[in-house]
């Protein structure tokens, strides 16, 4: 009984996943392939995290029908994309073109990654060089001293705190 229920629930789930596809007929397999490709590359503007292939919004349905009739009329993939961009802007493309408006979008992540890499390299290199050379430069020994005195200070204050706490615990 439980298994039956599980299967029923699973089937229900799968049907909810199925992409909403209206019945379209095509002249050729290639045409149908282009249709599905376009539907997956164009963004639905109403429900913005879906492609128009997977959206049930009224506008997505209209756009699917529009793409279908344009394909039947012999329009190419590029022409249909241009048609959409003319009306809805680059936003409608999941793969926006590279131009001044979008360069940050394209280069940004790579630039941040390279910056991180640069800093990491410098950090590692600095550590290596100080361990390899063995001897400290004047600047480094000075820094070491200041760090050590800092450390001593914090050690002292810590032990003071600890003894304070011990006192409190005892009372």
């Amino acid at each position: 009984m439980k298994i039956l229920l599980a299967i029923a629930l699973l089937a229900f789930h799968l049907s909810a996943w199925a992409a909403p596809m209206d019945a379209f007929e095509f002249d050729s397999k290639a045409q149908e392939k282009t249709f599905h490709k376009l539907n997956n590359e164009l963004r639905c503007l109403v429900c913005q995290n879906q492609a128009i292939a997977e959206s049930n919004a009224g506008l997505a349905k209209d756009l699917r029908a529009e793409i279908h009739s344009m394909l039947l009329a012999g329009k190419t993939e590029a022409q249909i994309k241009e048609f959409m961009v003319d009306r809805y802007g680059d936003y409608v493309l999941y793969d926006p073109p590279f131009k001044p408006m979008t360069w940050l979008l394209w280069i940004g992540p790579m630039a941040i990654f390279l910056m991180g890499l640069f800093y990491a390299r410098r950090f590692i290199f600095q550590q290596n060089s100080s361990t390899v050379s063995g001897e400290l430069t004047a600047e480094e020994s000075e820094r070491l001293q200041s760090l050590q005195s800092e450390l001593n200070h914090s050690d002292q204050s810590e032990t003071e705190e600890n003894s304070d706490m011990n006192k409190e615990n005892r009372s």
């Binding site: 503007l45 109403v46 913005q48 009224g58 506008l59 209209d62 756009l63 529009e66 961009v85 003319d86 009306r87 809805y88 802007g89 936003y91 600047e139 000075e142 820094r143 200041s146």
Partner: protein
Amino acid sequence: MTEIKQNNKSMMQRFMPLIIFGLLVVLLAVGLTMDPRLVPSPLIGKPAPAFELPLLNGEGVFNSEDLKGNITLLNVWASWCYACRQEHEVVKQLARSGMNIVGFNYKDKKQDAQQWLAQLGNPYQVVVADEDGRAAIDWGVYGAPETFLIDKQGIIRHKVIGPVSDQQNFDDLMAVVKEISGNNL
């Protein structure tokens, strides 16, 4: 002297992650205040798309040529659209102040639309009915309400996405109206 320099440098290094973190916070915070639903229209500055649509009330058609000659608002609305109801008072006010407004009834049933206007008032000089939403695609409409400002030459000058009753939307629209009526009247 060198110690101070050294300290400055190490301070700088120590706070660098914090500074970068701060900048990221600012960047992301600004991102959060922006509304991703506002998709800027590529049609601004371009001629109104050609269309010919039947009138909602009565016989006849209206086409894009009829938009020329006056500064016009093209208000996209539907009876199923809640925000259209919200903005309707402001649309009526605009009409009373002498603005030429064309209603663009989007994906609606004729009867529902007529009833809606009878109930809430009709501020439109003319209402065109785009029942299947095909003409709206050419206008880049992706929801209702949307309002286009078209100048005397039939060029789209501004687009309001969402209700014009929103103060920011209203002010932005009025700024452009002022600008083009100053130049062209």
